[in-house]
């Protein structure tokens, strides 16, 4: 019994955590200051994007005003948002519930 209980509880807790905390989006917003080439470099540096993917996200930011550059668990989303803000890109975090 003890073995079963200790085996079951953590699984249940993990599911709860993922359901409430799992869908955070890192969104970069357009600004008129940062160079396109700079934004591409930052995306490549921070996310490891290849040139084409980084460029696609940069163009989305430029033309549509925003681009979702990453989504996943909150803690990691916050870490990415912090790094992007260190590079002075305007970054917001969103949850699925916000849409």
């Amino acid at each position: 019994m003890t073995t079963t209980r200790s085996h079951t509880l953590p699984q249940h807790e993990t599911h709860t955590l993922l359901a409430t905390d799992g869908a955070w989006r890192v969104v970069v917003l357009n600004d008129p200051v940062n160079l396109m080439s700079y934004v591409v470099l930052v995306f490549k540096k921070v996310f490891g994007f290849d040139e084409a993917t980084a460029r696609q996200h940069m163009l989305e930011v430029h033309e549509q005003g925003r681009s979702i550059v990453w989504s996943g668990l909150r803690e990691k989303a916050e870490a990415y948002a912090f790094t992007l803000q260190q590079w002075h890109l305007t970054t917001v975090l969103e949850t699925d519930e916000a849409h």
Binding site: L35, S37, L41, K44, A81, H88, T95
Partner: protein
Amino acid sequence: MKRIEVKLSLPVVAPLLDVIRELADGLRKNLAAPSTLTELDDDFRDAWVGELVSSQNDDVHTLLALFDGNFFSEGVVAFDEENAEPIMRACAAVRLRLRECYLKPLGDETLETGDLDLTSLAEPLRKAFMCYLFLATVQELIIQHLDESILGH
């Protein structure tokens, strides 16, 4: 270590340093772009902003260190794998601050294209816009010559 040296025109660049230093003062306690994260609780947000300001200060310090005695005697500044990344970020910070403090009247489209007749501007707007263009040129130089160093760092 890859390193590039750039010879700058002293009479053109030296006067811009006053603007950069003035803005650097304003960046000591404030972020170049205000944090937009409203989801964080107050304590966490304060710590978050504090860390960003500290990192921003380190970057701006590295940018200002470019303009040392060697710059004023030879007009030369050097970029390498160590300083490329902080200088890129510091240039972005000062450019954002330039927009906030001086350049908003020019409009966002002008700031995006950089397309403007400098002679049509009065001081101090002219000097601020020259500074804005100069820092963009520094960023472009680094991207052109040291991007692999930054990506591999």
